[in-house]
Amino acid sequence: MNDIQNDIHKKIALLKKELSNAVIGQEDMIDSLLIGLLCDGHILVEGVPGLAKTTTINALSRAINLDAKRIQFTPDLLPSDIIGAQVYNPKDHSFSIKKGPIFTHLLLADEINRAPAKVQSALLEVMQERQVTIGDETFKIAAPFLVMATQNPIEQEGVYRLPEAQLDRFMMKIIVKHNTEDEELDIMRKAAKKSFTEVKAVLSLDNLQGLQKALENVHIDEEIERYMVQLISATREPHRFGLENLTDIIRFGASPRASIDLYKASRAQAYLKGKDFVSPSDISVVIHSVLRHRIVLSYEARAKNLTSDEIISQIVETLPIP
């Protein structure tokens, strides 16, 4: 590990430590957010309410000195409530632009599936294009821009399921689980004593951009690259890789965006670990988060109660590592 790597590793460790002052546990969510931030990706979080999703976003924004906003998605939300609108000024009979909450660095889109499709599309379009057009004017969204959208898996009534094409725009889908009993005890005590220490800015925007630039130096061997492509191909044509049993289970495999995101996420994962090269274990850490929302299962799979995660595990277990 050279000096530069040492420095990066220290900075990330410092960031994580600072975040731990506000967020206890939930390391997977924090790691995924950092990967998203480093790779300019967006994160979809599935989990029941009360698992510190908003707290994490706020803590992250403070730790890196970034803007953070939260939009609670409701059925009556309009696209203009997110992106902004032209407002008429009666004094000088002119229209002025009122920017929406989308103009921020970190955005928590809470319960995204509660809003109708046109609102979801408006948000997802910004996520992809990173620019917003209001009236005749087009506005660039300042980098870094990360959307953390949440879905509640319990609610089924009055929700609008995200279409597969839109799900594909999320770099990772993470499933937030409850804290361990020890962690929950710690949360309970700290909340009762109001002893959560305030998060201080430990990194600047420049530091973050420096980290993003340094990420490009992480080496990926050609064999590892091919291994990644094979993993993605196996979701589309499992029979080619001796996974005939998955042919009727998978309706649609992962898209090319999945390959790109797997590549980026694996590199970021290695980077977070302080490595300057990607190994198969880095891929295995992020592959479930990158692919689980991109594989469309058949009715047969649902009838057998199979999940995307089980299928991904089977693919990883079958394909020979380089």
């Binding site: 090269f277 190994s279 198969p280 274990s281 891929i283 295995s284 850490v285 595990s313 089977q314 990883v316 277990e317 020979p320 590592i321």
Partner: protein, 382 residues
């Protein structure tokens, strides 16, 4: 004196019974029978002559006997002479008294009075415009006719002059084969219809058909033919018992017997399987066990369900005891470092983080490890 007059009246009635001539308004009628003391079931010929006396009206008549269980009757003829408003009708009936002693025969006679205009009007109608004949109806009270019926000799089954013919073409047959047997009773008299020709205590199978009856009634009586068709069948030799039917002929007052002599039949045994009808291919002769299935299927299903419910938890327990964690087995069976790395990566890679790190160090950074030790560590982490 009072009693003598009554007796005289009864004597006069009895004297004139066979022929009653009565005067009614517009017509006279004459009722007579050919015999006054018939036997039971002996034919009595009854004749009614109606003669119109008033030429100024148009008359029509309805005559019939009142139904009664003491006698049966049959109209044989109606003859009508209609000449210049002097209608003459003769009704002829055959009556069979069914019980001995006095049998009263009652009548209904209706006079219908109409006019020539009314008749002409009714004739003016057609199929689509029917015009009814308007009549004024009068019920005429005809005194009942009493017959003094004599009893038949004891045991008489048929009344009349009959002959019997029994036809049996074969005396030999195979087991279960039907032997046709026809009995025909023919002659003049009361209809020779018997419920059973053969006695009830027979030792063979008897198949019967409804008898075929042909009758022709005239003023001479009823000529009838009754044909009884039967079939006899048995598995072994049998005897048709002799049959005697007691008959009585009233005109000659002679009792006589109609006989069918006893007959022997030779039956040869056959193999039952050869009796199956191969032409119409009926279903095979098999034992029907469907009732057994129905009776025991429900308790059986219930028992199976109960047994499954009892055995299932025990079986699950045994399975759980025997089952080895597949991941544990895979880790144990891994032969190379790559193979083990692949297994650990696919399953909870964060749990096995340290093992994965060791394996990768060995594979990609020339580190030295002991595969068995890594396996043991992974199993420990599991």
């Amino acid at each position: 004196m009072k009693h003598n007059l009554g007796n005289l009246w009864v004597a006069l009635c009895l004297l004139y019974l066979p022929a009653i001539i009565l005067q009614a308004e517009d017509f006279t009628y004459h009722l007579r029978v050919d015999k006054k003391n018939p036997y039971v079931k002996e034919a009595v010929l009854l004749t009614l002559d109606v003669n119109q006396t008033n030429p100024n009206v148009v008359l029509l008549f309805n005559f019939d006997l009142v139904k009664n269980e003491n006698y049966s009757y049959q109209r044989v003829d109606i003859k009508e002479k209609s000449n210049a408003k002097a209608l003459q009708i003769r009704y002829t009936y055959l009556i069979y008294p069914l019980k001995p002693k006095n049998v009263n025969i009652r009548f209904t006679l209706k006079k219908k009075v109409t006019s020539e205009d009314s008749v002409a009007y009714s004739f003016s109608g057609d199929r689509d415009n029917v015009k009814g004949l308007v009549t004024k109806d009068y019920a005429i009270a005809v005194p009942p006719l009493t017959l003094h019926v004599k009893s038949l000799p004891q045991g008489t089954e048929l009344v009349g002059d009959f002959t019997l013919d029994a036809t049996l073409k074969r005396h030999q047959a195979k087991a279960y084969e039907a032997l046709p047997f026809h009995v025909t009773i023919e002659g003049k008299g009361y209809l020779p219809l018997l419920p059973n020709i053969l006695p009830p205590d027979i030792n063979f199978t008897l198949f019967k058909e409804k008898p075929i009856v042909k009758t022709l009634s005239s003023t001479q009586g009823t000529q009838s033919t009754v044909k009884y068709s039967m079939a006899l069948s048995h598995v072994k030799d049998f005897t048709l018992p002799a049959v005697s039917i007691r008959a009585f002929d009233p005109p000659s007052e002679k009792a006589y017997m109609l006989r069918i002599p006893s007959k022997e039949f030779k039956i040869t045994e056959v193999n039952k399987t050869t009796l199956i009808d191969k032409v119409d291919t009926p279903p095979l002769l098999t034992q029907d066990w469907s009732w057994f299935e129905t009776l025991f299927s429900y308790p059986f299903v219930f028992f199976c369900g109960y047994l499954t419910a009892k055995v299932s938890p025990w079986q699950k327990k045994v399975k759980q005891q025997k089952a080895i964690d597949p991941l544990e087995e895979k880790i144990k069976n891994a032969k190379t470092e790559k193979e083990l790395l692949q297994i650990l990566m696919a399953n909870e890679s964060k749990v096995f983080g340290s093992c994965i790190h060791m394996l990768e160090d060995s594979l990609y950074a020339n580190g030295k490890i002991n595969l068995r030790e890594v396996k043991e560590k992974a199993l420990h982490l599991l």
